[in-house]
Amino acid sequence: MKIDTTPEVSGMGHSMKRKEDPRFIRGKGNYVDDIQLPGMLYMDIVRSPFAHAKIKSINTEKALKIPGVLAVITGETLAKYNLHWMPTLMSDTQMVLPVEKVVYQSQEVAAVIATSRYIAADGVDAVEVDYEPLPVVVDPFKALEPGATVIRTDKKDKKDNHIFHWEVGDRAATEKAFAEAEVVVKQDCYIPRIHVASIETCGCIADFDRVNGKLTVYMTTQAPHAIRTVFALVAGHVGLSEERIRIISPDIGGGFGGKVPVYPGYVIATAASVVIGKPIKWIEDRMENLQADSFARDYWMKAELAAKKDGTITALRIKTLADHGCADAAANPSKFPAGLFSICTGSYDIKHAFAEVDGAYTNKPPGGVAYRCSFRVTEAVHMIERVTDILAQQLKMDPAELRLKNFIPKEKFPYQSALGWEYDSGDYARALKLAMERIGYPALRKEQAEKRARGELMGIGISSFTEIVGAGPSKHFDILGIKMFDSAEIRIHPTGKAIARFGTKSQGQGHETTYAQIIAEELGIPASAVQIEEGDTDTAPYGLGTYASRSTPTAGAAGAMAARKIREKAKKIAAHLLEVSPEDLVWETGKFSVRGAPQRSKTIQEIAFAAYTNHPQGMEAGLEAVCYYDPPNLTFPFGSYICVVDIDRGTGQVKIRRFMAVDDCGNIINPMIVDGQIHGGLSMGMAPALMEEISYDENGNVQGGSFMDYLVPTAMETPSWETDKTVTPSPHHPFGAKGVGESATVGAPPAIVNAVVDALSHLGVTHVEIPMTPERVWRILKEKGVAE
């Protein structure tokens, strides 16, 4: 990629050091729990020990006697204001606090408000709740059987636990292709429930100012504007209209999708602040975080791939059951109950495909949120990359060769997929070949053969994924009816410096740096002189927030387009100053000069000054612009990953020896930040592949509810990731970029599974479920008679 600006300006392509770091490395970040307001009270939550139980009574007497406990809020309290239920982002409903029954373990039952967090915790211990346990439904297949206990008895006429059926593709044509296929492979695959476990948990401070009738909520949210609108919709009837709600999302300690939804704690704290008239802080602890919110995945898939004997894939069919827990509280765009699962044809030119997904309620917390991935893309990619390998194994073809044979050729872009997407750009073979070259693929295969002869277990796994990120186009994508555009507003100060505000919200991605670089690229103002702000709904333009790798494709694009509007006006001012017509001016970074007379020029700084001191008569003063950018299409980043594993025959432990990730996210704003995003994404791809799972016993008791049993990778399990890139710009994005933050989380797990299966393939193993814990792998070794 060509770099057009100097390091001083630091436009696109510079590995500029991050502007946010000076405060973080000094311990001067400003996270929600760091904020202390005068008179602030603390909230703590009583949670259910049962997964499904009737609430017979809640006795708050003892709690209220504790000095410092000011109130205990129950479902009855909220019911008076009709705030005991709230809508989810998928237009389902979810309890804020229960009146009749609880539907998952650790569900919020009551909230204690006290003068300190310690006293609030004492209060929680003193609240007495009498439960009557009900039959528990944890298995989504059983949940759909006739006669299963109905969980959502709150819904009139609801007689079962089925949430939705969704399908896409041409069923008949796909069936025909399967009937005519020379080879068919099948695989069932479960992607377990997992949790993003950002190191900062969720929380808020709700501050209702009774005098002015204004509510300010400091909240760990990735989507502050959408939250403001949801609050106005939910609480409009109690007088909270949207102009009186201000959501501030301060520094966020990691989001990964877990900080998109509205959790009951936010609503209870807000209601309590309105009722009590004081600021109320609620910060969940890690166990509450792992047991009650932010769950992802829980997809049971059955896939079939049809092919010719030469390895040409002809059709794909997938049937999925999605366990959503007690509510459909996923954060998918409204028209996509299964998210963008229809990217499941992956990187391959597959003529016929059909996919269907059914959603089921179970007695678990609301699931299907996200785990650093764009709406169900990880599940889709896992499945296609697994069955592709199984086909290679069946045909005794090298998995790289099979992929190269089936890739959508680069001449076919923009490419119409069988399930309805228009892929913007790609060169899949180039990425795979680069990964193979960088890792030394033929030599590894040779080494593997030698090791296998000696009885050692070594495997090489490939994944060639295609992501789909950057929602909208607004004609297809909305959340609760709000279209998925995003926004930027730029103001140039008289001295040529700038401030810009965006509708998104960084949670570590480095927007304060990358957005400044976009503006630097477009206007030639040094990125160091461009101040970026996000996350305050009173000041930033309306936007849908940061998740699903959408910031660069949408808000980043809005930044470039707003800057271009500014450049248009700057051109008129320059023409006025130079006394030529605008058509006679040419732009090069940071200045307009007269065509043919380059010594006659005006810098952007001179033009900015003139915009306030000497602007042409008849023109408005000032130099600023707003853009609400509605992308014409999504962006389709891609990559090829190759993983090398060694398996210990004594313990079953899988060790990632090398992992080569070649990513293509189009043009890059800041290579250092992109590399960092990929490192983090790879780690969050490895985590569910090898370690993380939240499961439930038959009574609905959570099995991974603290960091004691939910294993987040440390530096010891994480390998030293190797990265490289190819650059295939997006043709429709203003500066040719694609999203990147989640590619690696999506692409890594199947590469690791494929490597483990490859290590065991000579023993007849064709599939291993995740997480591939030492125990699970050891059991396979034992069964195959190779455990030591």
Binding site: K28, Y31, V196, I199, G510, A715, M716
Partner: protein, 160 residues
């Protein structure tokens, strides 16, 4: 609840506080002394976001009672910078992109500082072992390792 008056030194400054027996050190630092750079990320002593130097040793301040800090010398992230000059570890994290959301960063830097104090040329494995009690969800650790290596090189140049 019994109250105790304790005296301690934090980042070179003497402090006196009257605290409940059960108050955790991390809350004393964050809420009473308003040193909010020390973070909280769990309740089972796993994440290390709360790591501080306690008489020179890296310690998880969520698992120490405030009263146990009576008479002790503590260093938090706010005490790493000296005379307006970033410490080698801070500069290493800045230069090598060793942080993203910044939440784990104070604890990581404290652990890194303690490591370099006892071993000024750690191997990659030694670095990974040292930070294995500090979780980071954002960076994949690659650049944290590089940041500590960067700091090790800088420290050695300063004190040959």
């Amino acid at each position: 609840m019994a109250m105790h008056t304790i005296k301690l030194t934090v980042n070179g400054e003497p402090h006196e506080a009257t605290v409940e027996s059960r108050l955790l050190l991390v809350h004393l630092l964050r809420e009473n002394l308003r040193l909010t750079g020390t973070h909280i990320g769990c309740d089972t002593t796993h994440c290390g976001a709360c790591t501080i130097l306690f008489d020179g040793q890296p310690v998880k301040s969520c698992t120490v009672l405030a009263v146990q800090a009576d008479g002790r010398q503590l260093i938090t992230v706010e005490g790493l910078e000296k005379d307006n000059k970033l410490s080698a570890i801070q500069d290493g994290f800045y230069q090598e992109h060793g942080l993203q959301c910044g939440y784990c960063t104070p604890g990581m830097m404290i652990t890194g500082t303690a490591l370099l104090e006892r071993n000024n040329s750690p191997s990659e494995l030694e670095i990974r072992e040292a930070i294995s009690g500090n979780l980071c969800r954002c960076t994949g650790y690659v650049n944290i390792v590089k940041a500590i290596q960067h700091a090790a090189r800088a420290t050695k140049q300063e004190t040959p």
